[in-house]
Amino acid sequence: MAIAPPDAIPNPTVPLSLGGEARLAEFARLKKARQRREALIEGLLLLAASVSVLTTVGIVYILIRESISFFSHVPLWDFLTDTQWTPLFDDAHFGIWVLMSGTLTSSLVALAVAIPLGTVIAIYLSEFAGHKTRETLKPLLELLSGVPTIIYGFFALLVVTPLLQKIFPELPGFNVLSAGLVMGVMIIPYVASLSEDAMRAVPMSLREGSYAMGSTRFQTAVNVVVPAAFSGIASAYILGISRAVGETMILAVAAGMQPTLTFNPMEPAATITSFIVQVALGDLPHGSIGYQTIFAAGLSLMLLTLCFNLAGYWLRKRFREAY
Amino acid sequence: MTDKHLSTQFDAELSAVSTRVLEMGGLVEQQVALAVESLVSMSEERAAEVLQTERRVNQLELDIDRDLSSIIARRQPTARDLRLLIGISKTIGNLERVGDEAARVARTVQRLIGGSSHGLAFPTAQLNLEAQLATASLRRALDAFARLDVDQALEVIKQDNRIDAEFDGLLRTLITYMMEDPRTISASIDLVFVAKALERVGDHAKNLAEQVVYVVKGADIRHTPLEGLDSAVQ
C-alpha cells in the first residue's frame, strides 16, 4: 500500500494539447478589457441604487430641517402630550396624538375590514377557487387598488355614509367609520393579492402531503398553507397597514378633518395625512409655524410607517418560509 | 444513524446464504465420512445414504446459486460483499464436486459389493488414513470459511501436499496388490478411483481455502505456488 506524501505526486509530463500560450495570452487580453468595463458598470449601477437612498436622505433632510425650526417653537413634550391639535388657530396647540388617534382609528377600521376579508379571499382564491375563477377574479380585485383614491372618498361620503346612517341614525355625515370601511375595501387587494401570492408560492408538495393524509381543503389551508406562507402574509399585512396609515384623500374627503382626540370611529376625525394635504392646499404663508407643522406631522408619519416596516422586516426574518 | 438499521436486510440475506453454504458443507462432509464408512464396512445402506444426500447437495447448489444471482441482481454488492458472493459461488461448486466424489466412492462401494471381489484384502488402513486427512482438510476449510479465517485457510492449502503424498503411496500399494493377484485388478481399479476421489476431496478443500483468502484479502491465490503464497496474501 503506497501512502504517498502530496509532493510525491509526479509532475505532468505531456504539455497541454489544447490552447497553450496563445490561448492564455488571449485570456489575458480579454481580462483587461473586461475588468475595466465591469468596474465602470458597477459604478453606474451603484449610482442608480443610491438614488433611492438619496431620496430618503432628501425627504428626511427636508422633514427634519423644517421640523427643527418647528420644535424650536413647540416643545417636543407639548407635541407628544398635548390633547389638542389646533396649530393654525390663534390659540395654537400641537398635540400630535390628536392626529395619531385619527390615523390609528381609521387604520384600525380599515384593517378590520381588509385583513379578515383579504385573508379569507386569499385563502379562497388560493385553495378553493378553480384556476379559471382565480385568474379572472384576481385581476378584477386588483383593479380596486387602481381607482384614484379621491373617487373612493366621494364614494364613502355620498354612498356609504348615508347607508350607514340608516343603520346608525346617530352617525354624523363625516365619520371615521365610513372612510375607514371604504379604505378597508380599497386595501383588500393589497392584502389579498400578496397573501395569495405567498400562499401560491407554498410548494404543491406540501399541499399534497396534507391531502394525502386525508385533510379537507380547510384543514390544509389552516394547518399547512397559512403557516408555511406566514412571512409572506405578514408582509401583505404590513403593506396594508402602511397603505392605511398613509392614505390621504379618502380621509380628507370623508372623515371630517376634525382634530379631536378620540378613538371612536363613529365620530369625525383628522389624520396626519389629511392634515398635511389640507395645509398643502391652503393659504398658509410658507415658512410660518403653521406651515412647518406639516413637516413635523410628516416626520411623525414617517416614523410610524418606519415602525411598522421594521416590525414587518423582523417578522419576515423571524418566520422565513421554511419548506 | 442511531437505529442500527442500515443494510441489515442485505446482511441478513448474506448470512442466510452463508448458513446454507455451511449447511451444504456439513452435508458434504458427512457424505464423505459416510462414503468412507460404507467402503470400510462395505455397507450397502451407507452407500445408498450417500447417494441420497447427493441429491440434496445438488439441490442446495442450485438453490444457493439462484440466491446468489438474485442477490447480485438486486443488491449492488461491491468489495468484500461481492467477493463473498463470488467466493460462495465457487465454494458451492467445489462442495458439489466433493459431493460428487463421495457419490463416486459410494457407487464404487455398491459395485464392489455386487461384484465378486468379496473376500479380498484391501489396504483399508491406508485408505482410512487418506479419508481422514481429506475430511479433516475439508472440515478445516469449511471452518475457515465460516469464520473467514485466513490463517487457517492457508494452513489447509499448505497441507494439501500430505494428502497427495498419501494418495501416491496408496496407488503404489494397490498396484502391488494388482500385480500379486491379477483377479483383483478390477476391484483395485475401483479402489484407485476411490483413492483418487479422496485425493480430489483434498484438492477441493484447498480450493475452498483459496476462496476464503480471496474473500477476505481480495487476493486470488489460485495457481499460486506455495512459496509465493505468503507474499501474495500480504
Partner: protein, 264 residues
C-alpha cells in the same frame, strides 16, 4: 399490446386491483387499460422510463389527481377486502386517502414540529386525546426507525432535520394512521445512498404491517425492496411478475432491454 402478467403460483391475498384503468390528463391518455393486482403485505414496485405513467398510476390509488382540474378516470381500482372501487364517483376521496397513505419524492414535512407532523393525520381523523396521540406518535416514529434520533426534540421544527430524517418522518406520518396501503413515489431520489439504504430497510420492515406500492427510477432499488415488479411503458403495463423473475428472467424483450439499460 396485452400485458404479460405472471401471477405467482400461490398468490397471497389481494389487497387491491386495478381493472382496465384508463387515465386522462385533459385529452391526453396517460394510462391505458391497466390491469394489475396488488398483494397484501407485499411490496410492489413500478418501474419504467420517465413519463411512462408510473406516478400517474400511483396517484390514482389515493385520488391525488382530484386536486387538479381536467383529470378523468376510466375503469376501477378495487380495494379489498370490502371491494370498494376507490375511483368511483360516489366514493369520497378523503375517505380513500384515510385508508391509503402516501410518501412523496421530496420529503415534504409540514412547517411544524416533529410531533405535530406525525400527529397530523390523527388530528385530521379527530383524535384529540393527548396521551393517545403521544403513544401513536411514538409508535410511528419507532416504526420509521426515527424515535431514538428525535425523542428528545419532538418539539423541534421538522424542517431542520436532514433529508433522510425528513423522509423517515414523512413515513412515520404516513404510518401513524394505520393505513392499509402506503404509496411511495420515488421516495429516495433526493437522498444519498446512506439515507436511501435506511429508507429501503424501512420499506422492507413496514410491509409486515401494510401493503406497499413504490415507484422508483432505480432498478436496483426495485429489485432490492420489492416482492413484485411491474414494468410500465408509454402508459401501458408491459410486464408484471415476481421481482426475482422480472430481474433474472424477464418474459418480454422490452422489459429486459429496460432493466439492462439497453432501452431506446
Amino acid at each position: 399490446m396485452p400485458s404479460t402478467i405472471t401471477l405467482p403460483q400461490n398468490p397471497p391475498p389481494l389487497k387491491a386491483e386495478s381493472k382496465n384503468l384508463d387515465f386522462y390528463y385533459g385529452d391526453f391518455k396517460a394510462l391505458k387499460g391497466i390491469n394489475m393486482p396488488v398483494y397484501e403485505n407485499k411490496v410492489t414496485a413500478l418501474i419504467g422510463p420517465s413519463g411512462c405513467g408510473k406516478s400517474t398510476f400511483l396517484r390514482c390509488f389515493n385520488r391525488m389527481h382530484d386536486l387538479y382540474p381536467g383529470h378523468r378516470y376510466d375503469g376501477s381500482i378495487h380495494l379489498y377486502p370490502d371491494e370498494v372501487d376507490v375511483l368511483h364517483k360516489s366514493v369520497d376521496p378523503i375517505e380513500v386517502r384515510m385508508r391509503i397513505s402516501m410518501v412523496f419524492q421530496k420529503p415534504n414535512p409540514f412547517p411544524k414540529s416533529i410531533f405535530e407532523n406525525v400527529a397530523y393525520g390523527l388530528k385530521v381523523r379527530g383524535e384529540r386525546n393527548r396521551s393517545v396521540l403521544e403513544d401513536k406518535v411514538e409508535a410511528a416514529l419507532k416504526g420509521a426507525a426515527l424515535w431514538n434520533e428525535v425523542k428528545d426534540r419532538l418539539d423541534d421544527l421538522a424542517v431542520n432535520m436532514s433529508g433522510g430524517q425528513q423522509q423517515r418522518l414523512c413515513i412515520a406520518r404516513a404510518l401513524a394512521t394505520d393505513p392499509e396501503i402506503i404509496l411511495f413515489d420515488e421516495p429516495t431520489s433526493a437522498l444519498d445512498p446512506i439515507a436511501t439504504g435506511s429508507i429501503e430497510e424501512l420499506v422492507g420492515e413496514i410491509k409486515q404491517k401494510v401493503t406497499v406500492l413504490i415507484v422508483t427510477h432505480n432498478m436496483q432499488q426495485a429489485a432490492r425492496v420489492s416482492d413484485y415488479t411491474a414494468y410500465m411503458y408509454l402508459g401501458e403495463l408491459m410486464e408484471f411478475g415476481e421481482t426475482n423473475d422480472i430481474f433474472m428472467k424477464p418474459k418480454r424483450k422490452e422489459t429486459e432491454d429496460y432493466i439492462t439499460g439497453r432501452f431506446g
